[in-house]
Each structure stands twice: as structure tokens, then as C-alpha cells.
């Protein structure tokens, strides 16, 4: 099927197999590999991107469902070589170690703060419960999101 999507401000048109997941389209067809895959059950959130401004797990929708949509991936967050405040906050608070969950975590966190600009520690934890991290124990991820909220 022919689809047309805008990814990080650039329009793309491709003929995709109907069963193609959005994450595989982004990685394999568009060629943006910052979005990672960590599971096969929509559990881990490593593949989180923004679709029409909202965070979605890109393993959980088909590419054809994104036809006409405006998508932002982790590659689209920093502008002109300057890290997004959330990326900066993750770096300054050591909110990442191996970095594999990080793109999805950062995308989920930026979306979360738009919904709740001044969260508590507990609200951040609940807001990010769809994204798993195995390295950090979440402590510094929460600190990073709280710091970004104050920034």
C-alpha cells in the first residue's frame, strides 16, 4: 500500500507491505535507527515515537495506519545540534547507562511533561510505567524528568 508520512519534518512516500509495523518502517525503510525494538508484546516502550504530537509505541501500530501522519523520532528532537531540554536533563542526571531504552524513554517523557508540566516523583513514575529500563533502576530517569520540568 502507498503511504505518505512526515518524519522529523521530511515527507516520505513508500509502498509498504500492509503488515509492516510502524517501527520497522521507520527503521528499515526511512532508515532512522534511533528508535529501538526491545520486545514483541508492547511491553517495553523502547520504540516510543510521537505521532501527531502524542507518544505511541511504534511496534503497536501498522505503518499504513500512520498514513498522513506527522511523526517525530528521537532523531528529530535535537535541533541545530543542540540537545532538547529533556535530552540534556537525561545527560545531566545520568538517566541512561546502556542507552537502549533511552530514545523511547525520552520520547515518552517529553510527551508526559506536555500532559503534566509539573509532576511529582510519583506522577513521573506512573507516567513512564509503559517504558522499561534495566540499567538505571529508574531513580535518575525520574530525577531527569523532574529536572526537565523545572527547566
Amino acid at each position: 500500500m502507498e503511504i505518505s508520512v512526515t518524519v522529523n519534518g521530511t515527507e516520505h512516500q513508500h509502498d509498504v507491505e500492509p503488515r509492516t509495523l510502524l517501527v520497522h518502517y521507520i527503521r528499515d525503510t526511512v532508515g532512522l535507527t534511533g528508535t529501538n525494538v526491545g520486545c514483541d508484546t508492547t511491553s517495553c516502550g523502547a520504540c516510543t515515537v510521537h505521532l501527531g504530537g502524542e507518544s505511541v509505541k511504534s511496534c503497536t501500530i501498522l505503518a499504513v495506519q500512520a498514513d498522513g501522519a506527522d511523526i517525530t523520532t528521537i532523531e528529530g528532537l535535537a535541533t541545530d545540534g543542540v540537545l532538547h531540554p529533556m535530552q540534556r536533563a537525561f545527560m545531566e542526571n545520568h538517566g541512561l547507562q546502556c542507552g537502549y531504552c533511552t530514545p523511547g524513554m525520552v520520547m515518552a517523557a517529553t510527551s508526559f511533561l506536555e500532559e503534566n508540566p509539573h509532576p511529582t516523583d510519583r506522577e513521573v513514575r506512573i507516567g513512564l510505567e509503559g517504558n522499561l529500563c534495566r540499567c538505571t533502576g529508574y531513580h535518575n530517569i525520574v530525577q531527569a524528568v523532574l529536572a526537565a520540568a523545572d527547566a
Binding site: 526491545g38 514483541d40 513512564l128 538505571t136 533502576g137
Partner: protein, 824 residues
């Protein structure tokens, strides 16, 4: 000149420097193995056994071969000639250890659900996976063996040629005088005898495994890209297993998304990609799905532990006796048999025990995924047993568990302390760490609150759990590893290369996958050489660039690899001093090196910066007679001792006796890893480790049904905690430098995991002590807690057996008295 082996100035060491690794990881620039674009690569998919134990009767590949995109289909029999040796086990712990030959694809028989049976190559990943469903394998199912005591009884022998399921029995008995241990138990004022189960765990690195093998058919070289912790070990083992000359194998670990021990291995898929890429003369790649990952990547833990303590009237330990039954899984992977033995020296914990220690481990095969190293590897198990048993002993003695620990701690002034085992512990101050942890949670006030809160009928009960530990890490002195029959050594290599423009390349044999070595190693070099960390590049994880190394596991990278780098810097400084002395017309003995420059003592104007020396070394126009050009020095460092980090964790919980729900109110971790190079990274290691240990205590278990099917094969079923499931962590540190290396450092990667599980369960049991509960098995789910309160035996897990060894009457002790109220 007095620069050799000196502790560096600490302009950068000790700073919370932000990680140079982060921008690439935060922006999607980092390249993990699956991100590599390799034109022309075929995709490998595996048909895996759906049975835990079965004979392969027939394999029909005809339908798959006919599918579009399918290039080749291989069975184990087809590929038999591809292997020069079985898959490697590098740790034959005893001379008579039984190790079944294990090949990347099963040939006659499958021994766990997930065992590889057929390899499919196709032009796309989807085509390869589609073809998996078109392979028709006929199996003759055999009984599963998923209970350790059942395995020990040999009711069903899994590997016919071995004639038994027992792989080995390994014993370590030390007593000062013959009969001392028996006498200690006979004359003890107090004894405890406990049985604990270390459930099977799935490591669950967020990046599953991925492999790309790129052959050069004309010439025979091959490059393997793999999501591995151990590119150097993998290179050697792949060469041996495939019969490829080692110098023609290059292994690269690109960005690696976590390991926790699970990528410390040599896996079938790595060998298959290499063999098939050579056979088909094209690159071959494989990407592991999460469901495959839960079955085809090693599991951790899996032990039944019996521990007995003898103590005098004051509660001081007089003897320790341990019997383990350990689950090897279906086959021995790279270091499977050695894992329980990494804990063998730690069942006396951080306590001053006389020479009265009796340890024995029997390890058995089961029809489950092979076990191997998972964060802590043997040491969390040991620490859990001794720390849970210490709490049981405190109840017997009738004193506070923290006080019991204080009475038994190895005294600070006794360091360096030679233990009953003959091992020397480098440095420690256990009381300081415990005192700090107690202060962080307000220990005395909590005990006071507990007395008023946990009254008869209370349904929200407060519990406080203490755990003190050694990490025992930094693998290790090669001679000690030899005494444990480990095949390899424990050294690490480093090269420091000062480029003509005075920028520095560091080549390390460590292979980071989240630990921040690039940042930390650059800080060490910056302080040693008096330069900026920004002028240091750290090269690693590619055997063509860093040909020597033993990789990253066992919290060894800093105390072995980081120290090697400091030593290589010393060599660079010593060589540079010869050039400086020559140019300044001074004696080397009259030079001082500070802030990146050599100065003649007493003549501050007579100075030469390292930058100038670097160019002199490069141009070689005017070097001392006989001195080689270039400023590059390498070191292979074999540490004189393990490193002995230590600490105390305290967990505070409330348990709802009506629902069994546990809420962690506070968690304080005080870790002492000696000198901290980068406290930011240290904190992160402890945070992550604590939550992995807490997750074992409360959430995680690889559950098999009685047919040997893994019931927790996805992240929807295996409960890796989310942020909302876990508490914030309060950290404290004490700093007791290690005297065994010039940096004063110890390891830190596993400390959190080692300390956490017993602290959490001690807190849960402490909360319920007034109800007569003496143990709550892991994972302490609400149902398990509730069952314990009711006095019912907790719901058995299939991997938890009944008993083993020479304590036939020791069984899981759940309650000693009926509930006093609160439970329905």
C-alpha cells in the same frame, strides 16, 4: 624522578563528570548491532524446539525451501561438519565434571524448549521467519525434568551418554583442627538451619542479542559483529569451535544495550552466522526476538540452598555449613558450572569466622534453558543465604539483627584480613557502612515505631531489613582462577598512545555496554598525564583495534582494566622522562612531572611539556641513544587479589496483611567501592543493581510448567519492574581505598544486586515476625506473602524442590505459630 606507580593527582578523579557516551545514545546516533547496514546480508531464523525434551524423528523442510526469499535450510545433521569442536565451556570446575557435547543445532535430541533445530536463510527477516512456520519437525517427546531434586534422582536421565544428570560435586571444607566443625555445632549456644530457594531469573537486557557475520571469501578472514560483553573471549572461542585460524577472526561489539552477564557467552547464533556466512559466501545476520531471548539466552540463579550457622552465647559465629543444589539447565554454557562457586567463599559474609567452613555444591542438568552468569553470579545467592540466616540467628539469640551483625563484623583494624579460606580481604570498615545506612533510614526511630505499629491485630505492619555484604569482584588473580580450574586468566590489557599532536588514544581490553568506560578511563588518563579528558579517546570492543583483553564482567573493568591504564600511563611518563632529560640535559632523577610537564628540580624555567615530548618522540630527530621512537606503552596487568567492596543496605517496608501487598517505604544503600573515579557513574551502578536485586525479591521468576514450557516467555509475563513499581533509593558512601592498586579502587557493578534481595526479604519477614512468619520465598508476590501469613505452604513453583544433601529434615520453614490476627 618519582612518578612510577604514584597515585595520580585528582583534578578529574572524583568529579561527577557527565558521560561522553551520552549524546550519541540520546540522539539515536549510536549504532547497535541491528542498526548496522550490511548490503547483501541473508537473514537467519531458527526453528526452535517446542518441547523440553524430545527425540527428533524427522525434519521436513520441503515446504520452506519453496517459499519466496528462502535461500537455504540447514539441519543440525547438515552442519555437523561445520564444527571443529563443541560449543565451549571454559570452566571445568572438577576433573570429572560431566559436560555433554553441545552443538549450535541439535542433531538427535532436544533438551530444552528453545533448543535450535533448523536454521533458515532468507533474503529478508520476514521471509526467514515466515519459513519457520513451514518447517515440519516430528518429535518423540520425552519427560521433562524441571525439578532439581528430581534431576538429582536421575528418574529421567537427560544426556544418555553421561548416565546421570549430575554434572559435578565441588567441595570446600576448611577447619582449623579435625572435627572442629562438628564440635562447633555440638557445642553451639545457638544454631540455625535454613533452606532457601534462588529462583530462576531471566537477565532481560533491553537490547536482545543480534549478530552479523561478514566473511571475506577470498582470503578467509571473517568479521563478527555481535551484541556481546566479551569480544575477545568470543574471538578465541569462535576460532576454536569453527576451526578458523584465530588471526583471521575479528570480533566487534558495537553499541551494546546492556548485558548483566547474559552476553558473557558464546552462543549458537554467533557460530551459526559465522559458519553459514562462510559456507554461502555472503554476510549472514540474526536478530533475536524477545520471546527467543527468554529461551535462547542464558538464565540466572536457580539454586536450592541449605545453610547452617553455629554461634556462641553472644551470637558470634563459630561454624558455617552449606549445601547447594544448582541448576545448570540443559547444557553447560561458557562459565555455567563456575557460577555457584563464585559464591563459595562468601557464605560467611562479612563476618569474622574461625576456620570452620564446610561448603559443598552439587550441580545438575535439567530440561530448561542453560543457566550462566547473571549480575552478581554466585555472590547474590551466597549473600542472600548468609544474610537471611543471620536474621534467623538474631531471632534465636534475641537481639537486634543490626547488633548481631556488629558483633560479627570483621574488625576494621584486622585488615588486610586473611580469612579462613586463605583469601586476603584488602580493606574494609563494615561498622562505618552499617552506621551510615542506619542513620540514613533513622534506624532506632523505626524500631521504636515498629513496636507501637506492629501490635496484635495490626494489618499494616512495618518491617526493617538489613543486609551487609562483600562484592568480591575484579576477576581476578590468574593463579586463583587456575586453582578453581578456570581455563582463562584474569588479567587486563591497556595501551596508552600519545599522538604527535599530544592527543591521547587509550586502548582498553574492557568492553563497556553501559558502564561509561570512555568517560571514566579518560578521567584516569587526564589526571595521570596532566591533560584534559577531552584530549583522550578511548578505543575498545574491536579485536582489530584492541587485540588484547578479557572484557567486561564480574565488576572487573575498573579494578583490573582501569588500573592497567594507570600503569600504562606510568610507563608513558617514564619513557617521556628519558626524552625530557635528554632535551633538558638533566638527569632523569632530577625531573619532576606535574600538570603535564617535566621540570628540573630547582630550575622551574627548565621545563618541557608532554606535548613537546610527544612530537619529539614522533619526529625522532633527537632522542636519547637507543630509545625507540613514539610514545606508546602497553601493560598487561594481573591483579594480586580480588577486590573486596562492601556495604550495608537497609530496606523499610510496610506489609498489608489482608492483601499481602508490600510497599517499600525507604531503601538506603551504603556502598564502599574504595576510591570513586566518577561518583555519578558509581551512583548509577548502585541504583540499577539495587532495583535488579529488589526485583528478584519481589517480582521476577522464570516459571516453567511441568512439561517444561517457559510460562514467562515475554515481557508481558515476566515482571521486569517499571518505574511505578519501585522506590527511590537513598545512597550513602564510605571510602576505604584498596591497598592493592595505585588508584585505591574496587569494583561496583554488582554490589547493588548482591545487597538488595536479602535486605528486602529480611524486611518483609521482619514485618511479619509477630505473626510467626519465619520465611517468605522469592519472589514475594502478594499471594506468596498472604500464603505465608496464613501459615499455608506458599504456592510451590515447579523449580522449587523438596530437599537435598545431608539434611533430610530441613524443609522450607514458613511459620512456627498461627497468625495472631489480621488475616482473614
Amino acid at each position: 624522578m618519582t612518578v612510577t606507580e604514584s597515585a595520580p593527582a585528582t583534578e578529574f578523579i572524583g568529579q561527577r563528570m557527565l558521560r561522553r557516551e551520552d549524546p550519541a545514545l540520546l540522539t539515536g546516533e549510536a549504532r547497535f548491532t541491528n542498526d548496522l547496514v550490511v548490503p547483501g546480508a541473508l537473514h537467519l531464523a531458527l526453528v526452535r524446539s517446542p518441547y523440553a525434551h524430545a527425540r527428533i524423528v524427522h525434519i521436513d523442510t520441503s515446504a520452506a525451501v519453496a517459499l519466496p526469499g528462502v535461500v537455504a535450510v540447514h539441519t543440525g545433521a547438515d552442519l555437523a561438519a561445520a564444527w571443529a569442536a563443541p560449543m565451549p565451556c571454559a570452566w571445568p570446575v572438577t576433573d570429572d565434571m560431566k559436560n555433554p557435547a553441545h552443538f549450535p543445532l541439535a542433531v538427535d535430541k532436544v533438551c530444552y524448549a528453545g533448543d535450535g533445530v533448523v536454521a533458515i536463510l532468507a533474503t529478508s527477516e520476514t521471509a526467514a521467519r515466515d519459513a519457520v512456520d513451514a518447517i515440519d519437525v516430528t518429535y518423540d517427546p520425552l519427560p521433562a525434568v524441571i525439578d532439581l531434586e528430581d534431576a538429582l534422582a536421575d528418574r529421567v536421565v537427560i544426556h544418555d551418554a553421561l548416565g546421570t544428570n549430575t554434572s559435578y560435586t565441588w567441595a570446600l571444607k576448611v577447619e582449623g583442627a579435625p572435627g572442629q566443625i562438628d564440635a562447633a555445632f555440638e557445642s553451639a549456644a545457638f544454631t540455625v538451619r535454613e533452606r532457601y530457594v534462588q529462583q530462576r531469573l531471566i537477565p532481560m537486557a533491553m537490547e536482545t542479542r543480534a549478530v552479523v557475520a561478514v566473511p571475506q571469501p577470498f582470503g578467509g578472514d571473517i568479521t563478527l559483529y555481535s551484541s556481546t560483553q566479551v569480544p575477545h573471549i568470543l574471538k578465541i572461542m569462535a576460532a576454536i569451535t569453527l576451526g578458523i585460524p584465530e588471526h583471521q577472526v575479528r570480533v566487534v561489539a558495537p553499541a551494546v544495550g546492556g548485558g548483566f552477564g547474559s552476553k558473557l557467552n558464546v552462543y549458537a547464533e554467533e557460530l551459526l552466522c559465522m559458519a553459514l556466512s562462510r559456507q554461502h559466501k555472503v554476510p549472514v545476520r540474526w536478530s533475536e526476538s524477545r520471546t527467543e531471548n527468554t529461551q535462547a539466552t542464558i538464565h540466572g540463579r536457580g539454586q536450592i540452598q541449605h545453610i547452617e550457622l553455629a554461634a556462641d552465647a553472644d551470637g558470634r559465629l563459630t561454624a558455617v555449613r552449606v549445601r547447594l543444589l544448582a541448576d545448570m539447565g540443559a547444557y553447560l554454557q561458557l562459565v555455567t558450572p563456575g557460577i555457584p562457586l563464585l559464591g563459595a567463599f562468601l557464605y560467611a559474609g562479612v563476618y569474622d569466622l574461625p576456620a570452620a567452613y564446610d561448603f559443598e555444591c552439587t550441580s545438575v542438568f535439567t530440561t530448561m534453558t542453560p543457566t550462566d552468569a547473571y549480575r552478581g553470579a554466585g555472590r547474590p545467592e551466597a549473600t542472600y543465604a548468609i544474610e537471611r540466616a543471620m536474621d534467623a540467628l538474631a531471632v534465636e539469640v534475641g537481639i537486634d539483627p543490626l547488633e548481631l551483625r556488629r558483633r560479627n563484623f570483621i574488625a576494621t583494624e584486622a585488615y588486610p584480613y586473611t580469612a579462613w579460606s586463605g583469601l586476603t580481604y584488602d580493606s574494609g570498615d563494615h561498622d562505618a557502612a552499617a552506621t551510615k545506612a542506619a542513620a540514613l533510614v533513622g534506624y532506632e526511630a523505626l524500631r521504636e515505631r515498629q513496636r507501637t505499629q506492629n501490635i496484635a491485630g495490626a494489618t499494616t505492619r512495618l518491617g526493617i531489613g538489613v543486609s551487609s555484604y562483600f562484592e568480591m569482584c575484579g576477576l581476578a588473580p590468574s593463579r586463583v582462577l587456575a586453582s578453581l580450574n578456570y581455563t582463562a586468566g584474569g588479567w587486563e590489557a591497556a595501551t596508552v598512545r600519545v599522538l604527535p599532536t599530544a592527543k591521547v588514544q587509550v586502548v582498553t581490553g574492557t568492553s563497556p555496554h553501559g558502564q561509561g568506560h570512555e568517560t571514566a578511563w579518560s578521567m584516569i588518563v587526564a589526571d595521570k598525564l596532566g591533560i584534559s579528558p577531552d584530549d583522550v579517546d578511548v578505543l575498545h570492543s574491536d579485536t582489530a583495534i584492541a587485540p588484547l583483553g578479557l572484557d567486561t564482567y564480574g565488576s572487573r573493568s575498573l579494578p583490573v582494566g582501569g588500573v592497567a591504564i594507570a600503569m600504562a600511563c606510568d610507563k608513558v611518563i617514564a619513557k617521556a622522562a628519558q626524552i625530557a632529560a635528554h632535551q633538558l640535559e638533566a638527569s632523569v632523577d632530577d625531573l619532576e612531572f606535574a600538570h603535564g610537564a617535566f621540570t628540573v628540580t630547582g630550575s622551574p624555567e627548565s621545563t618541557m611539556p608532554l606535548a613537546a615530548i610527544a612530537f619529539e618522540a614522533f619526529s625522532a630527530h633527537n632522542l636519547p641513544e637507543g630509545l625507540e621512537p613514539n610514545l606508546e606503552c602497553g601493560v598487561s596487568y594481573d591483579p594480586p587479589n580480588f577486590s573486596w567492596p562492601f556495604g550495608t543496605h537497609i530496606c523499610v517496608v510496610e506489609v498489608d496483611t489482608e492483601t499481602g501487598a508490600i510497599e517499600v517505604l525507604q531503601y538506603a544503600a551504603v556502598d564502599d567501592c574504595g576510591v570513586q573515579i566518577n561518583p555519578l557513574i558509581v551512583d548509577g551502578q548502585v541504583h540499577g543493581g539495587v532495583i535488579q536485586g529488589l526485583a528478584q525479591a519481589l517480582f521476577e521468576e522464570a516459571v516453567y510448567d511441568s512439561d517444561g514450557n517457559l510460562k514467562t516467555s515475554t515481557l508481558a509475563e515476566y515482571l521486569v519492574p517499571a518505574a511505578s513499581d519501585v522506590p527511590p533509593i537513598t545512597l550513602g558512601h564510605t571510602v576505604t581505598p584498596s591497598p592493592t592498586n595505585q588508584l585505591g579502587v574496587k569494583g561496583v557493578g554488582e554490589a547493588g544486586t548482591i545487597g538488595a534481595a536479602p535486605a528486602v526479604i529480611n524486611a518483609v519477614v521482619d514485618a511479619l515476625a509477630g505473626l510467626g512468619v519465619r520465611d517468605v520465598p522469592m519472589p514475594a508476590s502478594p499471594n506468596t506473602v498472604w500464603s505465608a501469613i496464613l501459615g499455608a505452604a506458599p504456592a510451590p513453583t515447579d523449580t522449587a524442590g523438596t530437599d537435598v544433601g545431608d539434611h533430610p529434615d530441613a524443609t522450607a520453614r514458613t511459620t512456627v505459630a498461627p497468625p495472631e490476627g489480621g488475616a482473614p
